[in-house]
């Protein structure tokens, strides 16, 4: 991907005009999605990508394949079926003890071998810590183009992958093509694309491939994996629900109301930058440009005015609920649901409403 938009018009004759693909790249067909499967679970972004990949493959009139790498053949068989039901026509699998945990070296080798052997025209990965680590290495090994963190994928009139992504902290969007190289690679962040409908009973083909690498030859070793649920740290960036407070809460004591709601929702809590400066919370919970960027399904902002520095950190949220006494607060410009009210009074009521609703339904269930 491009580090920054190129402003200057390109000189004539360079690669930005569609030429006929070099002969050795013409054989590249089909759309692939790398299926992230660690610790026995598939990252949802992989299924989201299959949904999008299905559309791209249909538009191109080619097949959609999932790539599953791992060490447990039962898990891989299960995940293969998941892929078919989410739209894949076939899956490529590599089963090897060396693939038990993600490691750049082994996964890069596996991916580049597969690409060279079966030649996809489009290769999609999740913009996760795994996907970004792997995509950069694979693209550099194959010397092809890679577009990071796309928010929209399409096939243009000439059949190329048109990948649109935000840049400069979201102040601009750019559409990027990889014309004369294959595969065309792109990563997409989790929850940017919608989850496709699962088609129960849909099946496909499995193509097995060897890793061709011995544990002995892999330099990097995984000593341990510490799952987040076993540690005590703030996991704002990865949380599904985040409740945050701002100066509108008026005191450190009232900030506890944010924590109380977060607890009922199983959410992470955080706040805007001034709260760190006032010592109401630690800096690892700061949300915004100089703090954490979050992408939850639900973000509740209580007493936060919504300055641009805060906005860029939360814009990726699926749904932003803003509570503020000032009807002209900038946060209402980008929130989905706005409530002009005093958060200090509404937060406890919300906490109680959710608590009641969830316990009633738990008893009923």
């Amino acid at each position: 991907m491009t580090e920054a938009p190129k402003q200057a018009p390109a000189p004539a004759g360079r690669a930005n005009t569609k030429k006929e693909l070099p002969e050795h790249l013409k054989a590249y067909k089909h759309v692939w999605v790398v299926i992230e499967c660690e610790h026995g679970a598939v990252h949802p972004v992989s299924f989201e990508l299959l949904g999008e990949g299905r559309k791209l493959a249909d538009k191109r009139g080619v097949e959609l394949a999932g790539v599953i790498m791992g060490s447990d053949k039962d898990v891989i068989a299960t995940v293969a079926n998941d892929c078919f039901e989410y739209g894949a026509d076939l899956v490529y699998t590599i089963t090897d003890p060396a693939l038990a945990h993600y490691r750049n070296e082994a996964y890069t080798k596996a991916m580049t071998d597969l690409v060279k052997t079966y030649q996809p025209e489009i290769l999609l990965l999740g913009a996760t810590t795994l996907g970004r680590d792997l995509a950069g290495s694979v693209a550099t090994t194959l010397l092809t183009g890679l577009t990071a963190d796309c928010t929209e994928l399409a096939i243009d009139d000439e059949g190329s992958l048109a990948a649109t992504r935000p840049t400069f902290g979201g102040s601009l969007l750019c559409t990027i093509l990889t014309l004369n190289y294959r595969p065309q690679m792109a990563t997409v962040r989790p929850r940017v694309l919608s989850m496709p409908t699962r088609q129960s009973g849909r099946r496909g083909r499995i193509v097995e491939h060897p890793l061709g690498l011995l544990e002995h030859d892999i330099v990097t070793k995984v000593l341990q994996f510490i799952a987040d649920r076993e540690s005590n740290k703030a996991q704002l960036a990865y949380a599904d629900i985040v409740v945050a407070g701002g100066l509108g809460l008026r005191s450190a004591e009232n900030f506890q109301l944010v924590k109380a709601l977060a607890e009922v929702l199983g959410a992470e809590y955080g706040g805007s930058r001034p709260l760190v400066q006032k010592g109401w919370m630690t800096s690892d919970r700061q949300i915004g440009q100089t703090g954490k960027t979050i992408r939850p399904k639900l973000y509740i902002a209580a007493g936060i005015s919504g300055a641009i520095q805060h906005r860029v950190g939360v814009e990726g949220a699926d749904m932003i609920v803003a509570i503020n006494t000032d009807p002209n607060a900038p946060i209402f410009d980008f929130a989905h649901l706005g409530i002009v009210a005093d958060a200090i009074r509404l937060l406890p009521a919300l906490t109680e409403a959710f608590r009641k609703h969830l316990s009633v339904n738990r008893l009923a269930g």
Binding site: D133, A148, G169, S171, A353
Partner: protein, 284 residues
């Protein structure tokens, strides 16, 4: 121990404006800064230098004015600064950037000694790609450690390093052999202020400035626009959100009733949420 930190000078994104007609970035008057993520890399590099002795070289590729960022890094306490600048590099995408930087790093090894660690920030704030670090690692055949939250153990003599790496849903503890390329996670340290001595030294320091030929980069077909497989087809401002927030009517409602209404509106808009919460609640 020689450590290199790759940095980028970026426009301060909080102040970026887009020209309403041409949809191009208005760079005039926008202040430039060291990519904030790179400061975590720089501080980490200097801490390990302080512990084991040695030198920290900062490297950047960019226009001549990127010298400002390098000088700033010297005031923080870096020992040497290298600027790679050449019009042949203009318009580089990440693949072409990693090619040029890998070339300069090879030259740095020749001139100033082999680095055991090369650091970058986890990504830049203008491009946001996080691809150049892995690109450099691949080109120089370095072991790659991305999203490093903590260096647990470093043994330069034995050539070993152990780190905690941010992964999906947890932290991987990885051990590997030096030399390595590390991309540092944000928020893991705080850049030092730098001493008065550093400030004086930085003001007088000579920035090592190389063009492609100086850096021994001869294959210009892999540089700049020509060496970039990706092509920016279109740059445009995001369409403004059509509608403002849906305002929940608050008059004539008790707080309890208002809370019920808000909860209902949330569940109505995010249909999967209620089920998720039930499952969470049931698991408690």
């Amino acid at each position: 121990m020689h450590i290199v930190v790759c940095m980028k000078q970026v426009p301060d994104s909080a102040q970026i404006r887009v020209h309403p007609v041409t949809n191009t970035i208005m760079r005039q008057g926008v202040p430039t800064i060291i990519n904030p993520y790179d400061l975590f890399a720089l501080e980490e590099a200097m801490r390990w230098r302080d512990r084991f002795g040695g030198e920290v070289t900062v490297l950047t590729m960019g226009p001549p004015m990127a010298e400002d960022s390098l000088r700033k890094a010297l005031t923080f306490g870096a020992d040497r600064a290298v600027l790679l600048t050449d019009r042949f590099f203009a318009g580089s995408d990440t693949l072409a950037t990693s090619f040029a930087l890998a070339g300069a790093l090879a030259k740095i090894e020749q001139e100033f000694g082999k680095p055991l660690m090369i650091f970058t920030g986890k990504q830049t704030i203008d491009g946001d790609t996080a691809q150049v670090g892995p690109g450099i690692a691949k080109r120089l055949s370095l072991n790659q450690l991305t999203y490093v939250a903590r260096i647990v153990d470093l043994a330069p003599e034995e050539g070993h390093i152990t780190v905690e790496r941010r992964a999906e849903g947890g932290v991987q503890v990885l051990s590997t052999r030096l030399p390595v390329l590390i991309t540092m996670l944000e928020g893991v340290n705080e850049i030092r202020r730098g001493s008065l001595d550093d400030a004086f030294r930085a003001a007088r320091a000579k920035i090592v400035t190389w063009n492609a030929a100086d850096a021994g980069i001869t294959d210009l077909t892999q540089c700049g626009l020509r060496g970039s497989p990706t092509i920016v087809k279109k740059v445009f401002a995001p369409p403004p959100r059509a509608e403002k927030a849906y305002q929940v009517a608050t008059t004539d409602l008790s707080m309890e009733a208002l809370a019920e209404t808000v909860m209902g509106e949330i569940f109505k808009r995010q249909t999967s949420l209620e089920g998720d919460l039930m499952r969470f609640s049931a698991g408690q």
